[in-house]
Amino acid sequence: MTDHPHEHGTDEVPHTHPDPGVDPHTPLSGGPRALRIGIGGPVGSGKTALVAALCRSLGDELRLAVVTNDIYTTEDADFLLRNGVLPAERIRAVETGCCPHTAIRDDISANLDAVEDLEDALGPLDLVLVESGGDNLTATFSKGLIDRQIFVVDVAGGDKVPRKGGPGVTAADLLVINKTDLAPLVGADLTVMDRDARARRGDLPTAFLSLVEDRAATPVADWIRALVKDRAATPA
């Protein structure tokens, strides 16, 4: 951001222009520990449903575990258990003391302990999904906790959400715009959301998703598969 070749008008939101030929991410380091992916987003945007779908898609091909950070402790973990997508020993719930964003950003200790406990109990894992408690548009994960983060917003929250930006929308490694099947019912314009997401995110990818129509969350699962494959190919 320091190397900025042009001037901005005062009414413009600060933004960056990544070189399209360059992968904006730092390379993933290889190593024995699991790839950790954070899944954040506002309340009700479908984070837990996405985690459940990813468990169904990836549970048979990857050694997988999940840490949930619910506002109300074990609600999300219980959802995953009820839906039978992952055995109980592969799910840990972290309590966040009214501050879900603190537990994923400022004080990640309880989450790190949960990830370590899972790896101690289950042996080496390929993938740990860390689901944040439902929060707001400003919540992001610490890089001390996760390698990559997915931010989930939904169509029913209004098609202005990508334009409003915030670190989740602008900087998440993958933006998921969920519940596209509801767009006609709530008068949301997906082309507006797509255009605004591109403007906000430069080359960072955005996936449109309807878990009603795609119970395997295919675009997100494929994105994760590629990361796991990359990581396996990277020397520690």
């Binding site: 603190t102 004080d107 200790s109």
Partner: protein
Amino acid sequence: MSLATLLVLADGRLPAGGHAHSGGFEAAVSAGRVRDLAGLDGFLRGRLHTSGVVAAAFTAAACAAGLEAGSPQPPDPRALLHPTDLHAGSPQPTAPRPIDPRPTAPRPADPWDVFRRRIAELDDGMDARTPSPALRRASRAQGRALLRAGRAMWPVPAAGREPHHPVALGVVAAAAGLDPLAAATAAAHGTVTGPASAAVRLLGLDPYTVQGLIAALAPECDRIAAASAGTANDPVDELPADGAPLLDIGAEHHASWEVRLFAS
């Protein structure tokens, strides 16, 4: 001793897991025992003079043990070798040393063995003073988190995977070069600020008046810390054992709830 280092350790923003614990306050609120600022004041005083006194005493004792063993730097293992071994280049066979017929003086105890024994005793002592299994878990989870944060800042010696929080706090304080009085001050202060912060979140109390309560308790924290520093080398069984049965009972109820906001 560095005052700024004490501020680093006692900072409420230290990423050591504290934000997720209410120190029994959530249970007290839910049971209707605390509703307002006056209730919070009583709760904080009660906690400081029970859990706080115990935490400060055990923190001071663990800190003294760490300093005694030579924190912040563990001994250089090379110093334990025979002096000539230090100059050894490539490994080469050495002639066996002749047996010295003189009686050998008893070797002084390894200071880190003494440290480990004292830390284990203090940890057992905290178990004995924490009858509630839920509170033991909460204390150990916070001890583990504090060690993680401490290791990122200072050369913290091994003190187990998840020691009780006061034990971890003392060990980390010693590694930071703080003395038992400073460590105990941080412990006493922390037993007040944790529930106070939870109170602001749970009851929507005015944060300024809550901060006023914390400030009013500072002299008490100092007094408790001074007493703790005075007992830092006492046998574990003689350290304070003040208890708060309602905190223990509340913690057990709290742990059984299906829906709660705080870990303890």
